[in-house]
């Protein structure tokens, strides 16, 4: 029925882009000069002239707090996207990951949830997703000195697997490590800190984040499993605001087209993905 899931999404994306382009053209403004177009924009914003974004800011290198400034790949990408839309990008204070989707759904606080959300059917029931902006996989980290590292051995009674609450990492662990105890925490940093002190046997989370944390902060840990899931990140927008989703897709296309995305990937991941 919807093995078309991907087909359809790509198609809708493509159609949406061209349709919104046509619409803008029909309105008398050219589609490639999105900045300055905001007065005619059909989408609603929480506050005029700004794109209010929300993230948990606990997912380096995607989004995190460097002192008291928000930074990371996602943060700079959103700034580039907002610039293309002629808007200023404003971040709400870091918000717990599992409350971001309810917050966007309820509306009135933020326009976009940008916190490395994997596009899933479950989440799509609650909110709209933009087209995917990054591919990801799952990773499992353990202490370098740990004796238990592979999936079969971690799936055992008494093993404690730390995950971030509400993530695809949590879902993966619940589904694949059914015998182990899954401990859901507020952010992956808490999980890694706990593991490096021996509270948990392993941490399951998105691969870019686990490998970043293992190389940057928790050097006594390593990525022991790379789990190909082929999941993709999308931005989260309220179902009541489909015009914004389209505008974001369009602005993202522009960010890809002018090479900004490639530059950001080079900067944050050391390579274009």
């Amino acid at each position: 029925m919807s093995g078309h899931a991907i087909t359809r999404r790509d198609l809708i994306g493509a159609v949406a882009t061209s349709v919104s382009g046509l619409m803008l053209a029909a309105c008398g403004s050219s589609p490639d000069t999105a900045p300055g177009d905001t007065d005619g924009a059909p989408y609603a914003l929480v506050s005029e002239g700004t794109l209010t974004c929300v993230s948990d800011m606990a997912f380096p290198p995607m989004d995190y707090m460097d002192g008291d400034t928000c930074t990371g790949y996602e943060v700079e990408l959103m700034e580039a996207i907002a610039a293309k839309m002629g808007l200023e990008c404003v971040w709400l204070p870091p918000t717990k990951f599992d409350t971001i989707i309810p917050l966007i759904k309820q509306g009135g606080k933020a326009d976009v949830g940008a916190s490395s959300f994997t596009i899933t059917d479950e989440r799509k029931e609650e909110v709209d997703f933009t087209n995917a902006y990054l591919d990801s996989n799952q990773g499992v980290a353990t202490l370098k000195s740990a004796s238990v590292k592979d999936e079969g051995d971690l799936d055992a009674e008494g093993k404690r697997i730390a995950v971030q609450s509400g993530t695809t990492g949590e879902m993966w662990a619940q589904e694949n490590l059914t015998k182990a105890t899954i401990v859901s925490l507020d952010d992956p940093v808490q999980a890694m800190a706990g593991m490096s002190t021996g509270l948990y046997d392993a941490v399951a989370a998105d691969l870019p984040v686990v490998s970043y944390l293992c190389t940057q902060s928790y050097t006594d840990c390593e990525v022991s499993l790379e789990i190909p899931t082929g999941e993709q990140y999308g931005l989260v927008v309220s179902k009541d605001n489909p015009a914004l989703t389209e505008a974001l897709n369009e602005a993202y296309e522009a960010v890809v087209a002018d090479g900004t995305e490639a530059k950001l990937q080079e900067k944050w991941f050391g390579a274009e993905l």
Binding site: M1, S2, G3, T7, D98, D135, A162, D186, T197, L199
Partner: protein, 467 residues
Amino acid sequence: MRHGCTCGRGRAWVLAILLACVLALLPSVDALALTTNKATARPNEDGGSGVIGGIATRLTWEGTVEEGEEVSEVTLTLPEGGSFDGTSTKVTALEGLSRAKVEGEATPAGNRLTVSFSQPVSAGMLLRLEVEGMTFPSAGGDVVVGGTYLDQSGERPLADSKPIRTIANTPLQMMVATLDQSPAVEAWNANPFLGMFFKPQLLVTALFSLVPGWLLCLLIVVIAYPFAIVLGLLFAFMKISRYRPVRLVATLYVNVLRGTPLFLQIYIMFFGLPMMNVNINNNVLGVLVIAINASAYLAEIFRAGIQSIPLGQYEAASSIGMSYFQTMFSIILPQTVRRVIPTVTSDFITSYKDTSLLSSVGVMELMMFSKNLTSVSGNMTPYVAAALFYLVVTLPLIKAVTIIENRMANAERGGGPQHHKGKAAAAQEGGESAGEKPSERVMRAEALGTDPAPAPSSMAPSLASEV
């Protein structure tokens, strides 16, 4: 004999060679171009981790395309009773960790699901099929996902997956299903607020699945509290000691513990101790943190309680020749206990609620369970259920505190059993009047204790030292 033996050996050789030939031939005939890696199902038990038959869930099937092969179609089959009807399928093909551009069209038909790919999936690729909304047979049991696939040479059978353990429907799930069908419940949930905070289906499942967490909370605080009382008394005595260094140690202990958030103390204990190679069970560590934290507050409560006993009683006791310890244990402490019961109970309530902070370090207590439920369901109802579990303990205790306070106030006003209380004594304890809240009373008592002027605080220890 010897002849027969060689003959037998010869036969064995022939057999072995034949076997080897068959074995060598087998893979080339039956080698699977598509190897089944695994099939897993998302747990769909509300508030649990089981996979229940007859209720929609998501099946994830993974297979690898072997060397030199191409796969153009995959059909998955479930045992009788399972169903793919009404499902949506997500097709992902991966080369290593990067996505390959493969699209597929899925056609569900009863317990069969056929996915045909726009272009053949080539060798070495990992194929993931995520089928959302499928159901396992409602009888439960170990379910094996089988099927067939199409490669260049035609249709071939797919190796069976390792069994997925499923369970039959539970009474709780049936109750939820009944609620699901009720129009009244549907109308109730249609209200965004009621649906978000008081969803009946979730309330029922949460009340069941939160019980272990609730018991752990109770266990932690019930074990921790006696330790806290003993430690608290110790530090209370240290605080009124006549030796300055002892007083200093106690003051430092109490002030640091009262002056820092419990959350921080939890972090230090849970992350700090293992780093010093002290490995203690998480629950025991939880008991420790709660006990130590509560002991600081109790020390202040006990100290204030001891110092609120009028100085005249120390004098009276010493005048009949009682020692300091005799005075303390037979005169002062019994009265102190009566006075501090309400505040100690309030503190117990606080400690019980404080166990919730342990969820952040992975103690499987009440908040942890409700957080998990909330993150799975995206609904706040489990937190409301948790609130009920807290209230079921705290409300009776709060009531008890009120009753005790009223009785004490009554007694001190001249009612109750102490009919012949002298005017002076009544005046001295007059501050503890009926309308005073327990918290205000602590503050008053503490103010009394830190103020050097009133006789009881500064003179009791010095008097004690004279005894």
